[in-house]
Every structure is written in C-alpha cells, then in structure tokens.
C-alpha cells in the first residue's frame, strides 16, 4: 500500500489504467481513421500502378510503336501475318460518340436543370429530382440491353438504316445516361448563385427568362461547364452500354448510321480472350492507361473549375 502511494507522489502524472486503455483505444481508432482517409490516394495510385505494370512489357515488344498505337487506324491484334496495334479508329469512335451524346445531353440537361431550379414549384421540383436520381441508378448493362433491342428496332424502322446498332443508337443511350449527372450538377451550380442576384433583377422588372438568360447563366457558367465536363467523363468511360449498342466495327464513322467501336468496348470485348502475358493482353492494358489518364484529366479540370467558383 505504502509503496503505491509513494509512486503516486513521485509520478503524479501517471494515468489510471482504465484511462490508459481508453487512450490506447482512441489512438488505435484514430490510426484506423487516418489510414482509411488516405486509402483513396492509395487506391488511385494502386490502380495506376497495377494497370501500368501490366501494360509496361508492350514497350519492349517488336510489334509496338507508340506513334502507330496512337495515330494508326489499323487494329489487327491477332493477325497471323502482320500484327498491328493502331487505336486511332477506336479513339475517334470514343470521341464521336461522346460528342454526339453531349450534343443531345447538354441542351436537355441544362434545360431541365433550369426548369427544375427556376421555373417549378417545390413539390414538382422534389419529384423531378427523385426521377432524375432513379434515372441515374439504371445499370449500364440494362441500358445496353435497351439499345440492343428497343432502340435498334426503332432506328431501323425510322431511318431505314440497314443496321440498328450504330453511332446514333450509342449516342442516344449515352446521352440518356449522362443527362442525370449534368442535371444534378448544373442544378447545384444554379442554386449556388446568391438569391440577391435574382432579387436585384426582379426589382428591375426582369422576367424569369430574362433572369436566367442575363443573370444566372453568366453567374453560374463555371458550374455549368463543370457539369458538362463530368458528363463527358461519364460518357467516355461508359463500357457495357456502348459495347452492346454501337455495333462494334473498327472504322472512322462517316455518318450517324455507321457502326463504331470505342476504346472501352474494345477492352471489354477482347480482354477475356487475350491470353495472359501476350502482346495483345499488354496492349489492352495500355489502352486502359490511356483511358485512365484521359478521365483523370477531365475530372481534374472539372474539379478546378468548380473550385474556381467557390473561391470567388
């Protein structure tokens, strides 16, 4: 007894055992929290590392030439006589389908966002937002199925095109898929414009349309741009829907009714059948690196644009 009291006096700062356990527990849980916090960075780096690692051996292959990889239209990964890895037609496919999708989705997305944010009452607004959210939840393979069955029949009967799975089909499907993200982000951007702007314009006798056109659009233009960029990001990266709806032909499209193949669909179609460790396998991973960098750039730009508004 005496001894214990003594030590207490000598070391008055000693912590009771229970508290010690609590502090240790707290330290542990904080460690876990901090680790989870950095996990996102670890995962992004890991994705890049592993995809790049599998792509790397292709640079030492005889058949590979980076310039041709980027700018040649001939994609013959399994040719018996002359193997060629040119992804240009695939890149053009991705770009054209994204462009078409945005051509449809941007006006409709922005228009819907404006209507939801400025023109309708709170009840209607709530239900529209819920519908948009449910729209965003439809799985891409279901979209692909819709493209393959419903949409392709419609396109054949309306346009008389010989094949229903084509650029137009994929573009419409992708547009419907990226509209929800454009709507929800542009609506946020419009909401972020201070009400005092609207009030000032109203006081000057402006109508709603004039407010939208003269005040809101200029004030929210960065946010709207970011919304479009994120829509682009979604469209470029989409896989299953375009795999099933675009017709999957390696060619540079000359019209809306031509079939195309995209970078993503190409990986999805061929990865399962490329034997591990072959040049073909490594090239597909390199296409993955390309896609990763592309979407990385788009997302980063979108974020900087959004951040630009917050600073202001």
């Amino acid at each position: 007894m005496n001894k214990e009291v003594n030590t207490d006096i000598v070391r008055p700062k000693q912590i009771p055992r229970r508290a010690f356990a609590a502090i240790a527990g707290e330290k542990l849980i904080e460690l876990i929290i901090r680790l989870s916090g950095v996990s996102a960075i670890i995962f992004v780096l890991a994705i890049f590392f592993f995809v790049f690692r599998e792509a790397l051996p292709i640079f030492f292959s005889d058949h590979f030439d980076l310039f041709k990889f980027l700018f040649n239209t001939q994609w013959y990964p399994t040719s018996a006589v002359n193997v060629r890895y040119g992804t240009f037609a695939l890149t053009v496919g991705s770009i054209s389908i994204t462009f078409l999708a945005m051509l449809i989705a941007v006006p409709f997305g922005l228009g819907s966002a404006i209507y939801i944010s400025e023109f309708c009452g709170p009840k209607q607004k709530e239900s529209l937002k819920i519908i948009i959210e449910l729209l965003a939840a439809i799985p891409s393979v279901v979209w692909g199925f819709i493209g393959l069955t419903v949409m392709s029949r419609m396109i054949i009967s309306i346009t008389g095109a010989p094949v229903g799975v084509n650029l137009l089909n994929g573009g419409i499907i992708l547009a419907l898929m990226s509209v929800p993200i454009i709507v929800s982000i542009s609506e946020d951007a419009l909401k972020a414009v201070p009400d005092s702007y609207r009030e000032a314009a109203l006081a000057l006798g402006a109508t709603r349309w004039q407010i939208v056109y003269r005040v809101l659009l200029p004030a929210a233009k960065n946010g709207l741009l970011a919304a479009v960029l994120l829509g682009v990001g979604r469209a470029v990266g989409e896989t299953m829907a375009v795999l099933m709806a675009t017709g999957h032909a390696v060619q540079i499209p000359h019209g809306l009714l031509d079939s195309v193949r995209t970078l993503t669909a190409n990986i999805a179609a061929e990865l399962g059948e490329a034997s591990v460790g072959s040049d073909h396998y490594h090239v597909l991973f390199l296409t993955g690196v390309l896609l990763f960098l592309l979407t990385f750039a788009v997302n980063l730009t979108a974020d900087f644009v959004i951040r630009g508004i917050r600073r202001k």
Binding site: T73, Q74, W75, Y76, P77, T78, S79, A80, V81, N82, A89, S152, R153, I156, G160, P162, V163, G164, V165, L243, G247, H248, A249, V250, Q251, S259, R261, A269, E270, G272, E273, A274, S275, V276, H280
Partner: protein, 307 residues
C-alpha cells in the same frame, strides 16, 4: 438535443452494428455449414473453360450432369479456345474446351510446365455456316467470293457485284458481320477462308455467335458466319463451294461428318495427362449416349455419328 434522443440514436447505431455482425455470423456460419455438408457429400468442382462455340454445350452438360452425379459441380466459363488451353497449361482448370487443335508450341509448353502430355478427346464436329437474311435470294457462295467480301483488300463491297439484288432492301452495300479478333471461330474463318490474310476493317465484330446470327436476321443486306447450331428462322445458311462453278455443299450433319463441307471442324476437350476420378467419369459421360445427345440437341454433330 436531449439525452434521451442521444440514447435513442445510440441504440440505433448499436442495433445497426449488431445487425451487421449477426448477418456476418449467419453468413460465415452457414458457409461453414454448407462446407460440412459438402465434405460429407464429397462435392467436387470441375472447372471447364475455353471455346465460345462450346460454351453452350458445356453449360447443358453441366446442367444435366448435376442430375446424373449430384455431388459434382461443373463450372463453365467461355473466353475462347486459346484462353482455355492457356489456363489448362497453368493448371488452373480441369478441362479446356477448344474448337481447334492444340498448336505445336502449346503441346510443348504443356510438356515443359507440367511434365505431362495433354490428352485430347474429340467430342464432336461443327460446321461453320455462312448466314444471310432469309429474304436474300442467294443460295450458294464460293470460298473465293467469301474471301473477296471479307479479306483486307478484297474487291467485293456490294451485292450487285455478286449479281444479287435483295428484294425490299434500299441499300446495296454488303454489311459484313464478323467476330471479335481473338475468338476461335474468327481464327478458323481466317485460316480456311481468307488463307490467313487479314479481315477488312469496318465489319461489325460481335461478341457472341448468337449476336452474329441475330444481327444478320435483322439486316437484309448482311452476311456473317457462325456455328451451324445458331440458326434461327430469320436467317438462311448458304451452301459453299470451293470455287465458283464447282458443286456446292450445304452444312448438314452428313457433309460435316464426312468433311465434304469445306468449313467443317472438329471439337475437342483437353485434360493434362490421363484424367482420373470425377473428371474421367464426366468425360466418359460426355462421350456416352446421353452426353452426345445433348451435343446434338445444341446443333452440333456427335463424334459417334458414324458408328
């Protein structure tokens, strides 16, 4: 915020955590239980991987074999003949299915990797049929014409060049329907029709044999190739002659079996070394009457058709 409501929330969070834990426990518990059950019954899993042509047959076998031998689970994946054989060489699967013969370097690699010889079982025959839309008046085509349509640098791009007018089709341009570049069917067509030359770019490269036939069935001006088992009422199989003017042969069971039909091929499954136990029983069953009947029902020609 009152203490009571904090408590309510604390209860919520605790019960949520408990729920998750219980769910996990149930999950692992039942997992274990089914483990035990499986051990009692000595369940074995046979993994089959390979040819897309055979994947539907393999699936039908797996389904039926479960009734014959309830303690054997058969797992089926596609991927292509080459992928199946590569996996077999690595020892990750039990049976590789292939719509082509094993290549010399693959046989050597097998010997090197495992010290065993790959054992081949010819389980049936297939004919690669050339499909057109049912309204297409064409009935036969020669291999040269096919090559001119499909190969890189081939001259034929319009039906009129073949002397064909398709009733009710606005366009004249041939819509080529092909397969993605690593499938066994694609390689077979390239070897036997295009003489190993490359395909013309711009063909619609479908992911499945069924998709090819379906697209051809929906497109009046289309031509495509796929296994003979995939025919539907909206398409027509063409007879094939080796040169224009020579007698054409249609993809029927007899012509396939006698190899008179130019695009006939044999279907194989491979194992590493002599199969034993459950795998042997499964293969024996495949080669027996019920197994071969399933193959036939899927539109292929049984290996035992001559007997």
């Amino acid at each position: 915020m009152t203490g009571a409501s904090t408590q309510v929330f604390n209860l919520t969070i605790r019960s949520a955590i408990n729920l998750v834990l219980i769910a996990l426990l149930m999950f692992t518990g039942c997992q274990k239980k089914s483990d035990e059950q499986k051990e009692e019954k000595q369940v074995t899993t046979i993994q089959v991987k390979g040819s897309d042509t055979l994947v539907n047959v393999a699936q039908a076998w797996a389904e039926q074999y479960k009734k014959v031998a309830p303690t054997v689970d058969v797992e089926v994946s596609g991927g292509g003949s080459g992928v199946g054989i590569a996996a077999l060489l690595k020892g990750t699967i039990d049976i590789a299915s292939a719509s082509r013969n094993m290549k010399q370097e693959e046989i050597e690699a097998a010997k090197r990797n495992t010290g065993k010889d790959a054992k081949n079982f010819t389980i049936g025959y297939d004919a690669l049929a050339v499909y057109v839309h049912k309204d297409n008046p064409m009935n036969e085509i020669s291999l040269d014409q096919l090559a001119a349509i499909f190969s890189e640098g081939g001259e034929t791009t319009r039906w009129s060049q073949l002397g064909v007018t398709i009733p009710g089709a606005g366009e004249d341009e041939i819509v080529r329907v092909s397969r993605q570049s690593s499938s066994g069917t694609y390689e077979f067509f390239r070897e036997h029709v295009l003489q190993n030359k490359d395909f013309k770019l711009g063909s619609r490269d479908m992911n499945g044999s069924k998709e090819v036939v379906e697209l051809v069935g929906n497109t009046k001006t289309a031509i495509g190739y796929s296994g003979m088992g995939y025919a539907t009422p909206s398409v027509k199989k063409l007879s094939i002659s080796s040169k224009a003017g020579e007698p054409a042969c249609s993809p029927t069971v007899e012509n396939t079996f006698s190899k008179k039909y130019a695009l006939a091929r044999s279907l194989h499954i491979y194992t590493m070394g002599e199969p034993t136990g459950a795998v042997k029983q499964f293969i024996d069953w495949i080669l027996s009457v019920p197994g071969q009947k399933i193959l036939e029902e899927n539109g292929y020609v049984p290996a035992t058709a001559a007997n």
